[in-house]
Symmetry: C2
Subunit: 243 residues, 2 copies
């Protein structure tokens, strides 16, 4: 049985709590809120792992409270390196690479968990913990994790913004955005059989300047024009290099 | 029984052929290649509908061959207006809004089909045809269709390019792109319960300049920096307006 204390009461902590509670070999002994009550003294029972699921900025100060602990302390951040945790501790990272919302249930089995620790036995402990809730566990260094997190900004944050622009164009022209949802789903699903470079289609890939000029004129919003322009140029350059 | 002749032997035509062949009330009487043999005289048997599934540029010239026909002629383009077909004909549009690849099977039941025709009986004929293969049939004008097609460039072509950039960042830092796939799937799936404006997360949405500056520095490629910059600015402006 692995005893876990969760520090933080945000969305990631709540989803981890649910996933850990379902696992047979994990016991969540306590969940500490990230403000006020977090001191080592507030801990009711020692755990094997303290998982600090709080905002990047707060990791260093909050983790200072656990300096007295002899147990493993792991944060859940994609971008903070492992050494944002106190060097006096056994340190680790337990980063679930997914977009979490309060409103949506997630299936942890499919969520990649990137783990990192300094000692071999801590890597094993994190690995056991991660494998209890997920089928996709990866050992990833702080440097690699930072780049994964950056790539995630492109494929998640920026992609969602493109959906938002698509939605705006639909609204302006009084067509339901729903019509685009099967296309959005298939665009993502294609990656299971094709690489993005193979899956690319459209006027920019063909360097079809006539269609590009027409579509550019169709856009009435300057910001949308800029996004159209930069992404079109980037696609053209990608395929020029390839040829 | 609706008799259909398909004109064009590209990817869209092939997928339509498969879908029509499975439908009980549709008979594909002939498929004509888009080059050479397309003349009205090449037609072996009159159909109820001629579906011209060829590139936008060729629609006007190829459809001229069907001027003598008294039957409905429909193209499958997202961006060409209905009047790219000869005015002497009964004209229509049958636009399946999806990204097709030769390599991937598609489930036509979920693919939105946007139909348009000038006569009431032709709208009904296209509607019957579309409903035989899809559960998502929409009457859409040429102007609306053009804007849907433009929105599709953002949510499909541009989104796929962001996947490509994500892939490049992973390669450069020796992490498998596969780790990002569940995130990509969930980013698309979220739209079933949240609008894109509700689903947005990340440093740009929070206007977190510290993280933005760090991530920008992490990028080594000028084109990626430009894409990062424009999309970040666009997200910041979107949420400024909202506040």
């Amino acid at each position: 049985m692995i005893k876990v204390t969760l520090v933080g009461k945000g969305t990631v902590s709540k989803h981890l709590y649910k996933a850990f509670s379902k696992a047979e070999n994990i016991e969540v002994v306590q969940t500490l809120a990230s403000r006020g009550e977090i001191t080592f003294e507030a801990i009711e029972e020692e755990s094997d792992i303290y998982i600090i699921a709080i905002s990047d900025d707060a990791i260093t100060s909050v983790s200072q409270q656990f300096i007295k602990s002899k147990k493993l302390i792991a944060h859940t951040s994609g971008s903070a390196p492992i050494d944002h945790l106190p060097r006096e501790n056994r340190r680790g990272v337990f980063y679930p690479l997914q977009t979490f919302s309060k409103e949506r249930e997630v299936d942890f089995k499919t969520i990649p968990i990137c783990i990192e620790a300094e000692r071999k036995e801590d890597v094993e402990l994190l690995s056991t913990l991660a494998n209890s809730i997920s089928n996709a566990v990866y050992k990833i260094s702080s440097e690699q994790r930072k780049s994964l997190h950056l790539a995630a900004v492109f494929v998640n944050n920026f992609t969602n913004h493109l959906y938002q622009i698509g939605n705006e164009i639909c609204k302006k022209n009084k067509v339901p955005f729903t019509i685009l949802k099967p296309l959005i789903t298939e665009t993502a699903a294609k990656l299971h059989t094709l690489s993005p470079i193979e899956a690319q289609t459209g006027p920019a890939m063909r360097n079809d300047q006539k269609t590009i000029a027409k579509q550019f004129d169709q856009l009435k919003n300057d910001k949308q024009k800029e996004v159209y322009n930069i992404l079109t140029q980037s696609i053209i350059e990608t395929y020029e290099k390839k040829l």
